[in-house]
């Protein structure tokens, strides 16, 4: 992967399922706690609207998409905008790696869901470090 200055983190906007909440929480872990200065949260709603600044951000930096379900809105939207997808992740795939972390709750995730979000964030952190040419792993909260 080529070196980048900043990475876009694009969670899905899932509202009806716990996996969507996991994708969002993982994105917050990454952009607020782990990589606040070298990652940027990109909301899909602005891309739906065709917001110029958001489109430019997507074109300027590689994106890591985190989708809550198989419909993969985040991956498709970044693709539609012509952005470069450094990695596309689906929460269900990460859950398969951690079957003990079964998420439930949408408005408020259960503890297992929060752990799954953390595991997902760790995975993304490693990709960001690699992409930015940094050594070391994630910076757990």
């Amino acid at each position: 992967m080529s070196k980048a200055e900043k990475i876009n983190i694009v969670p899905c906007s899932g509202i009806g399922k716990a996996f969507g909440s996991v994708s969002r929480l993982a994105a917050y872990y990454i952009t607020e706690d782990d990589h606040p200065s070298d990652s940027k949260l990109v909301p899909l709603a602005l891309l739906v609207l065709g917001d110029k600044d958001t489109n430019e951000t997507v074109l300027a930096n590689p994106s890591i998409t985190i989708d809550g379900c198989k419909l993969q809105c985040a991956r498709k939207m970044i693709g539609e905008c012509g952005g470069h997808i450094a990695k596309d992740l689906v929460v269900l795939d990460v859950y398969r790696e951690h079957p003990d972390m079964k998420p439930s709750g949408v408005a408020e995730l259960n503890e297992a869901g929060e752990k799954l979000a953390r595991a997902l964030a760790d995975k993304v952190d490693s990709i960001i470090d690699q992409s930015l040419g940094k050594n070391g792993g994630s910076k757990n909260a």
Binding site: P11, C12, S13, G14, I15, G16, K17, G20, R24, L25, A27, Y28, E32, L41, P43, L44, A45, L46, L47, V48, L49, D51, C69, K70, L71, Q72, C73, A74, K76, M77, E80, V106, A107
Partner: protein
């Protein structure tokens, strides 16, 4: 009658992940969908209007929709209007905060007191809008409220919280060399086939009456539409047995 989705109100949130007001939209919508009006409401993720199929894009035409936005950019409202259909009602969180003299909501993951207050206010306003919209007649072929107050559609006590991926069943039919999308056609065909109604002029008349409930067909276009629908139903009836 075909078992098409019952009369409900669609809720579309901006979900704006980068703003606390976006979190407010999500939590307020969930409060309505799960607690206040679970049987009367349904939702869809906003990006599905672009990332999904035509069935998803038919959502706001099929259901009268409330768009709930975090800020004045109104992504949910304009996104829905642009890619699906004009929402029947809307709410903007920053307006509600101002109107009720609340402090700015804070906390993307966990809202502050002001954020929690506006969640309740927005949820209650939405519930009132749902009641109001259900009391009016929604024309699914035009995708707008009827002028009259007749409400002849039957509600069904089935809770559907998330419509992602389920979409509205659609079918494309070639009419005079042009591909036209018809909402609900697969279910209409299925119902007529189950009733063992063989393709005929009489059956076609009945099918067309049903098709026109869910699709806008100008009288001048109907003679062109009928042969296309007839052909598709003959094909459907042949494939699915008699």
């Amino acid at each position: 009658m075909p078992e098409l989705p019952p009369k409900k109100v669609g809720i579309v949130t901006c979900s704006g992940e980068e703003l606390p007001e976006g979190t407010v939209t999500r939590l307020a919508a969930l409060r309505v969908l799960e607690q206040l009006r679970p049987k009367e409401t349904v939702t869809i993720c906003l990006p599905l209007f672009l990332a999904g199929g035509e069935g998803d894009r038919a959502f706001a035409k099929f259901y009268p929709t409330i768009a709930i936005d975090g800020c004045e950019k109104r992504c949910a409202y304009y996104g829905t209007a642009k890619h699906s259909n004009e929402p029947a009602a809307s709410l903007i969180i920053t307006d509600l905060v101002k109107k009720h003299g609340l402090a700015k909501p804070e906390g993307l993951r966990k809202l502050n007191e002001s954020g929690r207050q506006v969640v309740e206010i927005a949820a209650n306003e939405m519930a009132a809008q749902v009641d109001s919209l259900l009391g009016k007649s929604w024309n699914r072929s035009k995708g707008q409220l009827d002028q009259s107050n007749d409400n002849d559609q039957v509600e069904e006590a089935t809770a559907i919280t998330c419509s992602c991926g389920s979409g509205i069943p659609i079918q494309k039919v070639v009419i005079k060399g042009q591909e036209i999308t018809f909402i609900g056609l697969p279910l209409i065909f299925a119902t007529f086939q189950e009733q063992k109604k063989e393709p005929s002029d009489k059956t076609l008349d009945e099918i067309m009456e049903m098709v026109k409930i869910y699709n806008r067909i100008e009288p001048i276009d109907e003679p062109d539409v009928r042969p296309g629908i007839q052909k598709e139903y003959e094909e459907y009836f042949r494939k699915n047995g008699k």
